[in-house]
């Protein structure tokens, strides 16, 4: 049975979206309005189960009367608002944001980003050849940096962090969207194992004093990985299979079932490849989990395939 949340009736707000008059429920965001109109706006830091972080600035649109562009994922519609999603200004902003991200970050496992980049003609290589990986990103002091000569483009490339059997942290892919921190912190898990540390280009997702995860407050619920939009955080099994070329999403089936470990009744989606469970997620629309799980639901399935 599907549960449909009806809620209280909402007034409709009328606004102009790319020249067309549209009506959306009060309290909706510009992004909601766009989605309702079938317009696709790229997003990265937006999470369907999280509060908007307003960080990535990929979803910026033009609102008449506003000095700057506004993030469509968080700005609520107002009566009479005139919104442009494909003006010269928004296109330039989107292109540059994607170029800047691509020039500093490895986006090879970020879904859709290639399409978005080619749609707006983004070319991250314009900023110069990427600088080599650095091993000191955890120790950089705010307000200090080495003077660049401009011959390479600074990046966040760095060695992977593999300090436990379940997670791989490839922070060279991290775009600082804050989603993992929000999922680990007060929005869902209340574990607070990770936070944003440092400042500016040297900011990074970190435990206290960059201590390894097993010594931190991490409980391995995997909810950070669930919300990571770029693959900077990944399940070790998935990461290893991708590395050795045996990860084949096309060949995977997804089966949703209910976790048997306790009485909460969390929905589990088993990702199965070659008759083996390779990953467990949970449907974001599940009213029990909202996409979150605990270590048991997320990782406690090896016994199923002990043959």
């Amino acid at each position: 049975m599907t549960i449909v949340e009806i809620g209280l009736p909402k007034r409709l707000v009328e606004l102009t979206l790319d020249g067309e008059s549209v009506r959306v429920p009060e309290g909706a965001t510009i992004l909601d309005a766009c989605t309702a109109q079938g317009k696709s706006i790229p997003t990265l830091c937006y999470g369907d189960t999280l509060k908007p972080a307003n960080a990535c600035r990929v979803c910026m649109v033009e609102v008449e009367g506003s000095r700057t562009l506004v993030p469509s994922c968080s700005r609520k519609v107002e009566p009479g608002m005139v919104v442009k999603t494909a003006s010269e200004r928004t296109n330039h902003s989107r292109k540059l944001v994607l170029e800047l991200l691509g020039s500093a970050t490895d986006l090879s496992t970020t879904p859709h980003v290639d399409e978005w980049m080619s749609a707006c003609g983004a070319d991250p290589s314009r900023f110069g050849p990427p600088a080599p990986p650095s091993a000191d990103r955890d120790d950089r002091h705010p307000g200090e940096h080495e003077e660049p000569d401009g011959q390479t483009a600074a990046t966040v490339r760095q060695p992977n962090k593999v300090d436990n059997p379940l997670y791989v942290r490839d922070l060279g892919k991290c775009i600082m969207c804050y989603k993992c921190v929000d999922a680990c912190g007060d929005q869902w898990q209340n574990t607070f194992a990770i936070s944003v540390a440092g400042r500016g280009f040297d900011s990074r997702i970190s435990t206290e004093f960059s201590t390894p995860l097993p010594e931190s407050a991490c409980v391995y619920c995997g909810n950070c990985i669930e919300v990571c939009p770029t693959g900077a955080l990944s399940f070790k099994r998935e990461h290893d299979k991708r590395e050795d070329g045996t990860w084949d999403e096309e060949a995977q089936t997804q089966t949703t079932t209910i976790c048997t470990f306790c009485g909460v009744g969390c929905n589990l989606t088993l990702h199965v490849q070659d008759n083996e469970i390779v990953k467990v997620t949970s449907p974001h629309e599940s009213t029990v989990t909202h996409g979150n799980l605990c270590i048991k639901g997320r990782f406690g399935w090896q016994h199923v395939q002990n043959r």
Partner: protein
């Protein structure tokens, strides 16, 4: 929330200072970090762990906060460090050769050699300057202004004395007709009696008679505009906050003056601290605030001591506390919060996060501070200079006040003159004075030199040319001339200044001070600095024209899509140098 702490204990000294915070909340995180830093000079794992235990904060979050501020070190360093300013005004006055000497004699800047490069220390009138901090049972500071390599080396080796008495540089001190600066350099900043003998607390008495709405009416009719850079009408801000039914309301005095080349607020706080306290009290009364926070930048130790003294004296005489000046039901308290080296914390919403004990990252607006600000409550944020205009309005009357300046920009204005100028310092002039008149007041460029350019408004401002000196200094004229007065910076460059190096410093400043929250600013400021390095160093990737194009495009996305004013203005000064001063042609040739 269960806390998982590291298995590390604090030293005895660390434990003692942190235990003083027992029973307090998250908003005491920054004060607790300061307490440890003042005691031992850096934040060890054990100390941070103990802060987390006492204040009940997850260690990862506390680490995120501590690692945000440049005055804190999370790795061991000596108790004493000397911060040597390398920012705009000091650069023009020989900071580079000073640092070169220090590098050869003490070793490269860093914890081990005992000296660090610092962004603007806000003492530009005495450039080049340095500030020494020494941790201990009694933390000490010493401002070296102006300084030399010999002095920095000597101080790095010896004990700094407790805050020297270096008097504020006010070339106009004691002159007739001054309003904002009338006491600065002329009365004893420690004495409440001197303050009252020179008209102090008359304005608060008037305010209490007028009532909150009367005060707001006067300030609105006086057309007072914010002096921190954004020029928002102060009366409207107060009115909007006063109308909010939610209680409590908060007042924040933004004294995180960090815009390179700005030092007017420091001068006011050091020279007339009671005026700041009285003005905050009036603002609190008008906007219905029960509590005011004075967020002072961490690099202003002398202002800190004088303001602390002023608050204590004012409280003794019932100018703060309950039923102030006998006015039943009006209670107001002021708490000083020290910043710790982060330009972004002067942004009006980042300042809330910093006070609340979170990373000093700006919030998305709306909601605006007057609806939801500090601790989620209606909050008024005003710059120091804005506030000290209020007693002038109340004592002289709003009609007399609007008679000063122009119809669009009323009142007196402070300008910070520094760089290649004969008599640097803070000058008070009515709005509408021309840039040329102001430069004349400060003696112009040193004899035998020629004016090359003037940076108005600081790193976030813009350059104007020597042929634009007839520009009247008003908000509206600046806007019409496509420039800004910003926070009142007038940084003068003559023909000896190295404009390329100056621009590189501006680019480096924004790269260092970006909080890192949004992509356009976090990565854009890096790309801007890289492209400027290629342009100035004449080492283009392909052509300089392409680098200029990159700069323009990156500048546009920072301006359009950054969350806050830092990113939105990070391209302004460089853009104006390239196209208004013509540096683009020079660099491309």
């Amino acid at each position: 929330m269960d806390l998982k702490l590291l298995d590390v204990e604090p030293s005895e000294a660390e434990r003692v200072v942190v235990d003083l915070f027992t029973g307090l909340g998250r908003d005491q995180l920054l004060p607790a970090l300061h307490a440890v830093n003042d005691r031992v000079g850096w934040i060890s794992q054990g100390a941070l762990n103990h802060i987390c235990r006492v204040l009940h904060i997850p260690p990862a979050e506390a680490y995120g906060v501590a690692s945000f501020y440049s005055l804190f070190s999370l790795s061991e360093r000596p108790a004493k460090v000397v911060h040597v300013c390398v920012d705009l005004a000091c650069q023009v006055n020989g900071a580079k050769s000073l640092c070169d000497r220090l590098t050869s004699e003490l070793g490269p800047a860093g914890a081990r050699s005992g000296w660090l490069r610092s962004p603007c220390l806000g003492v530009c009138e005495k450039a080049p300057v340095a500030l020494a901090f020494e941790a201990g049972e009694v933390a000490k500071e010493q401002l070296l202004a102006p300084t030399t390599a010999e002095e920095v080396i000597a101080v790095a080796a010896a004990d700094p004395s407790h805050v020297d008495g270096g008097r504020a540089e006010v070339p106009q001190a004691g002159a007739a007709g001054l309003r904002l600066l009338k006491r600065v350099g002329a009365v004893d900043p420690e004495s409440l009696d001197d303050y009252r003998a020179t008209g102090g607390y008359a304005a608060l008495r008037t305010a209490l008679l007028l009532g909150p709405s009367g005060v707001i009416r006067e300030v609105t009719d006086a057309k007072l505009m914010g002096r921190g850079g954004a020029a928002f009408p102060t009366g409207r801000k107060w009115d909007a906050a006063a109308r909010q039914p939610v209680r409590p309301h908060y007042l924040v005095c933004n004294a995180d003056e960090s815009e390179p080349g700005t030092f007017k607020d420091r001068l006011l706080m050091e020279g007339d601290p009671y005026a700041v306290i009285e003005s905050m009290t009036i603002a609190g009364f008008a906007a219905g605030c029960s509590r005011g926070y004075l967020y002072l930048r961490g690099e202003y130790p002398r202002a800190l001591h004088l303001l602390r003294n002023a608050i204590a004296r004012a409280r003794e005489r019932n100018f703060l506390g309950d039923n102030i000046m006998g006015h039943e039901g009006f209670s107001f308290e002021i708490e000083i919060r020290r910043g710790a080296g982060a330009y972004i914390c002067g942004e009006e919403t980042a300042i809330f996060n910093s006070i609340e004990g979170f990373r000093g990252e700006p919030r998305s607006k709306p909601p605006f501070p007057v609806e939801s600000g500090l601790f989620g409550k209606p909050t008024v944020v005003n710059n120091v200079e804005t506030l000290v205009n209020v007693p002038v309005i109340l004592t002289e009357g709003c009609e007399a006040y609007t008679g000063i300046g122009t119809s669009g920009s009323t009142g007196p204005k402070l300008f910070c003159l520094s760089g290649n100028v004969s008599r640097p310092g803070v000058y008070e002039v009515p709005f509408g004075t021309t840039l040329g008149e102001l430069l004349d007041l400060a003696g112009g460029v040193p004899p035998g030199r020629e004016l090359r350019a003037v940076l108005l408004g600081g790193a976030a401002g813009g350059f104007v040319r020597p042929d634009e000196l007839d520009l009247p200094l008003t908000m509206e004229d600046a806007r019409a001339a496509n420039t800004t007065l910003g926070s009142g910076v007038v940084l003068v460059l003559d023909d000896t200044a190295d404009l390329g190096a100056f621009l590189l410093r501006i680019a480096a400043f924004f790269r260092d001070e970006s909080c890192g929250q949004c992509v356009p600013c976090r990565i854009g400021t890096v790309r801007q600095e890289e492209a400027m390095a290629r342009l100035v160093g004449k080492r283009p990737l392909s052509t300089s024209a392409e680098d200029l194009q990159l700069l323009k495009e990156v500048g546009q996305v920072m301006r359009d899509s950054s969350i806050c004013g830092l990113g939105q203005t990070a391209w302004n000064a460089i853009e104006s140098a390239l196209y208004r001063l013509g540096y683009a042609e020079e660099a491309a040739s």
